[in-house]
Symmetry: C2
Subunit: 224 residues, 2 copies
């Protein structure tokens, strides 16, 4: 569903060039839960953002469902992301003046889904992460783990084909973690493509495939 | 160094009352590394924020170095925090338009420390967390784990008596985690009070003492 061919990312910082991602060639497949592991600063978020069409490669190519992404306008990209990709950001990116349920409803409202259906889907998504009773709260009134769960609900509510999660369990205790990972595992079994960036060794049992990132270099790891 | 007597925290949300912390009585001692564990939303950040004089108790009392905190003005509190407490926030709270080194220098500049000494201490703190080479970068140019390490450096740079850390290793890989925990362990051995809120089971070997929080209730846990 997503394919990188020699895709790399460089940033200019003052007079330095930082290579966040070395040329990478890989595919993300439907029906698979793929883990991306690696040290802090190694390029995991960069790789995920590229797969999610959030950032453009500095060089190389990116294909989403067979379509070449490099040439597309920001509007066309935003449309693709809205309809095909669910993204859980490392810092959640919840909208502060909107309640939990308004945050989760947003992608559905952008898709012009009728209000009655929106309310059902939002309730289902929040229920899945155990946040239904706090739906009227603002992000600032929620704990770190509660905010993370709302961010996960928002990524799942449009039932996207590709779900990209950046450290989705970093703020969660073992119980909430198991809940979230079972749900992601189920979505992969139902034919979605699920990619999870993590440092947490507790997530390996859920993976079909593991990509290791080190200093911007991506390698496929054998599952033990 | 810090003492809570029947301290509790309630929030009004619409027409609900949320009890974030049930009346808690406990002391935090110098020379100890104390872990605070518990599920998402259980009250850990609330407890830590109270110990750090970041929020006032709704009822009960808080003492810092024998001084009753409840009656103090916001200015007096800010002065106490600046001189005696180092805080690593769950969402880092780095200042976006300031570079990593400017962020770490801030508490020292507020203390009117001479510039030459500030530069030395900042270099030492950033070196400790392996972020010296990225000191001229803005938070937005850093990965999650890199931002977290800068936040840790800032909390340590004033060499405070009490160091409060909210999930300080959530975004860190095993190597950076070990680095940070060894440093916190060393500070406790040198006579500081170190309190770490965490979900990470890998941190238990570093603890002298464990407090468990559940639904706002705090209990002392036996070390196994
Ligand atoms: N400003 C606020 N208004 C309303 N409720 C709040 C506020 N701050 C915290 N709470 C609630 O108080 C409870 C405890 O929150 P707290 O942030 O202390 O949890 P936590 O243990 O740190 O959780 P996590 O592990 O998810 O970070 C939660 O139910 C939270 O939603
Ligand atoms: N906008 C930017 N400008 C400059 N450098 C950047 C920018 N974004 C990322 N980088 C750098 O690219 C490298 C990879 O960053 P990335 O965020 O992908 O790491 P990561 O593996 O997700 O780390 P973490 O586990 O700490 O979240 C890092 O050295 C980072 O500082
Ligand atoms: Mg990252
Ligand atoms: Mg918290």
């Amino acid at each position: 569903v997503a394919e990188l061919i020699g895709a790399e990312k460089r940033y200019a910082v003052g007079d330095q060039i930082i290579t966040a991602l070395e040329p990478a060639t890989l595919s993300i497949n439907l029906g698979e839960l793929c883990l991306i592991i690696g040290p802090s600063g190694s390029g995991k978020t960069t790789l995920l953002s590229m797969l999610g069409c959030v950032i453009y490669p500095s060089a190389g190519e990116l294909f989403l469902k067979g379509q070449r992404i490099n040439g597309l306008s920001e509007e066309a990209l935003a449309h693709l992301r809205l309809h095909h990709i669910g993204f859980v950001f490392q810092n959640f990116n919840l909208i502060a003046p909107l309640t939990a349920e308004e945050n989760v409803a947003m992608p559905l409202n952008l898709q012009k889904i009728p209000e009655k259906e929106v309310r059902l889907k939002v309730a289902e998504a929040l229920g899945l992460v155990g946040m239904l009773d706090r739906r009227k709260n603002l992000p600032g009134q929620l704990s770190g783990g509660q905010q993370q769960r709302v961010a996960i609900a928002r990524a799942l509510v449009t039932q996207p084909e590709m779900i990209l999660c950046d450290e989705p369990t970093a703020a969660l205790d073992s119980q909430s973690l198991a809940l979230v990972m079972k749900e992601l595992r189920q979505l992969a079994d139902q034919g979605k493509a699920v990619v999870v960036v993590t440092h947490d060794p507790r997530l390996s049992p859920f993976a079909d495939r593991i990509l290791a990132v080190n200093n911007g270099f991506v390698t496929e790891q054998k599952l033990t």
